[in-house]
């Protein structure tokens, strides 16, 4: 199978490429950029005039809801959503039912994903059995089954000794521990950023210190163990300051943010809109501005969709009772581009801002996850997205492939629409 993608603007931050060039794909791999390899005769060609050709997106947090929550979403629906969103590799957290704490479950998930044959699915294993924070999982076995790291999802570990042991054990095999910093007690039961808005609306708050206290603990344990940690979905300016300092100190860590937090603040809760009920909560404008700045200065390495399909029965409830989360796979690209277009930090020109933004959802994310993805380098797997950066579309639940129809961006018009998604050299989606 030979695929020729011609006349597109190839943006490949991993290799510093941004130019109108042709892309040649042979047998599922990138064969050449620019000039056709010797003897190349395309079986299929796509005219990408006016489109951006970029590495397929790598999403560091997408809940597929399998196993256990198939009424909220299935692999079929969510991997189709990934294709429509240009996401060719995704990392899924272990908070399924049952929890991904046994190799058999991971193998089953990988097997199901292979059958669906769309985006590459990379599970995170549970760091502790049942995410209960008591006993370590069989990390080596889970890694063999296909886990790329270990996480506690939304369940903070109560006993710090267990977290210490887990990090020591992970360090033994050089596994990465993925943690969303949240204190186990402060902010528990909270549904909104603890601030003036939550006070006014009478919503219980999650204080910023829930994040910063946890970060202090994690950093101390990193100093003690040398474990590598990826920090997930940082939400606060104060948390980012701590991460900036920890990186400077030389701790072996990376960090991501959820794409909603680049744009929205707690004010978007408006009149108790449960679509804006997210975990971690949307915070203040100052926090949002700090997140944008931290992406530019490198404190934050990557942007994830934090894709969390929630069904109507669990969303159409009073704000505090509604399940947190929003659908995101199909919005990740457009919302990341929106950030690039806003150009809040004058240092970047438009071209540089676009490459920076694409890097945060391709090569940077792949580096964190340890995946050979997010690149259009010759010889790499041919995972490619073609998108029209100028095409505007309306976010409409009915038009989303994801079974999750809830997002605080419903009714927004966004720019940047996927035209084709190529996975391992095969055109898996085309609009």
């Amino acid at each position: 199978m030979k695929l020729h993608i011609k006349n597109g603007r190839v943006i490949d931050p991993a290799n510093g490429v941004d130019a109108v060039q042709d892309l040649f794909i042979v047998d599922g791999k990138i064969a050449a950029i620019g000039a056709a390899p010797a003897g190349f005769a395309a079986d299929q060609s796509i005219d990408a005039s006016g489109l951006v050709v970029a590495p397929g997106l790598v999403d560091l947090s997408a809940r597929l809801r399998e196993p256990g929550y198939e009424y909220k979403a299935t692999l079929e629906s969510e991997l189709q959503a990934a294709m429509q969103g240009g996401v060719t590799s995704l990392v899924c957290p272990p908070d399924t039912d049952p929890v991904l704490d046994e190799p058999g479950l991971v193998e089953m998930l990988k097997h199901r994903a292979r059958i669906v044959d769309q985006a590459n699915v990379h599970p995170l294993g549970a760091l502790t059995v049942g995410l209960k924070g008591q006993a370590l999982t069989e990390m080596a076995e889970l890694t063999e089954a296909g886990c790329i790291g270990f996480a506690q999802a939304e369940e903070p570990i109560l006993d710090t000794t267990v977290l210490l042991r887990a990090m020591q054990y992970a360090k033994t095999f050089e596994y990465t521990v993925w943690l969303r910093p949240q204190d186990a007690h402060i902010g528990r039961g909270g549904v909104a950023h603890a601030g003036p808005l939550a006070s006014r609306l009478g919503l219980s708050g999650v204080p910023v210190m829930s994040e910063t206290i946890a970060l202090h603990t994690i950093f101390e344990l990193m100093r003690a163990t040398g474990a590598r940690v990826h920090l997930c979905r940082i939400s606060s300016a104060a948390g980012l300051d701590l991460i900036r300092a920890a990186k400077k100190e030389g701790l072996n860590l990376t960090a991501d943010v959820g794409v909603h937090h680049l744009h929205m603040t707690d004010a978007d809760i408006g009149f108790f809109d449960s679509n804006a009920r997210l975990t971690p909560p949307l915070r203040s404008q100052r926090d949002r501005d700090a997140i944008r700045a931290a992406l530019v200065d490198g404190t934050v390495d990557a942007i994830c969709s934090d894709h969390t399909p929630v069904d109507d029965d669990e969303k159409l409830l009073p704000f505090g009772e509604a399940s947190p989360g929003a659908t995101g796979l199909e919005l990740l690209l457009a919302l990341t581009l929106k950030w690039a277009q806003d150009q809040p930090h004058g240092a970047q020109d438009a071209q540089g801002a676009l490459a920076l933004a694409i890097g945060k959802i391709t090569c940077e994310a792949a580096r964190i996850a340890g995946l050979p993805a997010g690149t259009l380098g010759v010889g790499a797997a041919a995972d490619v997205v073609l998108f029209d950066p100028a095409a505007r579309w309306l976010v409409d639940g009915k038009a989303l492939a994801s079974q999750g129809k809830h997002t605080p961006f419903l009714g927004y018009e966004l720019a940047g629409q996927v035209r084709a998604t190529v996975v391992r050299g095969r055109v898996a989606y085309q609009r």
């Binding site: 603890a194 601030g195 003036p196 808005l197 939550a198 006070s199 006014r200 609306l201 009478g202 919503l203 219980s204 708050g205 408006g270 009149f271 108790f272 809109d273 449960s274 679509n275 029965d313 159409l316 409830l317 009073p318 704000f319 505090g320 009772e321 419903l410 009714g411």
Partner: protein, 324 residues
């Protein structure tokens, strides 16, 4: 979603379609309700305590959270307006059978309800109901009878009625709200009403554990020392301290709370000599208020209850006369 960001309690003409919160109401809205209420105050003294303003209308009291007092006052107010009242204790029926909140609303709306009076333990629940009705049944009105920690607008309005009755003018008052501000929907509604009506100084008094952040943004001065906070105030609004909060991580004991924040005659003497003492009820005597104050000449706690009927009549009759 643009529709959610329109203020759901106002219709397109800026009139009250629902009463969900006092926040965002204009002074003219509040004045209109208070003026209407004053025309109803006399009705309760008549031999026939009824006016026909809501004859043929059905008011459904939907109480997802227990309440005797508030539900009763709404029931009396509805009956004095000649409406038919249906009391539903939802806690004990539908939701325990797994029916969703909006299914319950759809069913009741199909029974031709004209107005829902809603109390719910979750902040914002009446908004969800009102927004749903705005999309499906724009002729049905919602009155928030207390949602979580968020708002209790009719209590706020009856408090304003009481203050206006005794003090006439809002623009030269100091008002202190004392106690568990953190969990109090009454406090939030009072604060919005007082600032909207032009009260120059609103104070909140309590220990740090019971004062939410962000009060200064709501235009409130906070005091942790009650003696300083009560100095020269015209109005004292005491809040009820819930039993479950009297001992634990928020407060060590009811005794210590009374010692630090209970309203005693000595403390009342720090306020202006003609200061009035209010309480939304039910009172915990000896916890937040001394009986000598509760039964004293400056207490207006029972008149609050009486005015509450007239204020709720005013709210319901105004809403019933508003069309989407």
């Amino acid at each position: 979603m643009p529709i959610l960001h329109n203020n759901p309690q106002l219709n397109k003409n800026g009139e009250l379609q629902h009463l969900l919160t006092i926040e965002g109401l204009k002074k003219s809205h509040i004045d209109h309700i208070l003026d209407t209420a004053s025309s109803f105050v006399g009705i309760s003294d008549r031999e026939v305590k009824k006016v026909p303003l809501m004859r043929g209308k059905s008011v459904f009291n939907l109480f997802f959270e227990n309440s005797t007092r508030t539900r009763t006052t709404f029931e009396i107010a509805s009956k004095r307006l000649s409406a038919d009242v249906i009391n539903l204790n939802i806690q004990a029926s539908s939701t325990t059978k797994g029916e969703s909140l909006l299914d319950t609303i759809d069913n009741l709306a199909a029974m031709h309800a004209d107005m829902f009076v809603v109390r719910h333990a979750q902040s914002g629940a009446p908004y969800m109901i009102a927004q749903h009705l705005n999309r499906t049944r724009s002729d049905v009105h919602v009155v928030n009878a207390g949602d979580g920690r968020h708002a209790h607008p009719t209590q706020g309005l009856l408090d304003m009625y009481t203050i206006r009755h005794y003090k006439k003018d809002f623009t030269n008052l100091r008002v202190a709200i004392v106690g568990d501000i953190l969990h109090s929907r009454v406090a939030r509604s009072d604060i919005h009403a007082l600032t909207t009506l032009g009260v120059p100084e609103v104070r909140a008094i309590g220990p740090h554990t019971l004062l939410p952040g962000g009060l200064d943004q709501m235009g409130v001065r906070t005091f942790t020392n009650i003696d300083e906070g009560l100095k020269d105030v015209d109005v004292i609004i005491m809040l009820r301290l819930q039993n479950e909060r009297m001992s634990g991580a928020l407060l060590p004991s009811a005794q210590e709370y009374f010692k630090s924040y209970g309203l005693t005659p000595e403390r009342l003497a720090l306020a202006k000599p003609d200061a009035i003492v209010m309480h939304p009820g039910p009172m915990n005597r000896g916890v937040e208020i001394d009986s000598a104050v509760a039964d004293g000449s400056q207490a207006v706690i029972l008149p609050q209850v009486t005015f509450g009927i007239a204020v709720r009549m005013a709210v319901m009759s105004i809403l019933a006369g508003t069309h989407a």
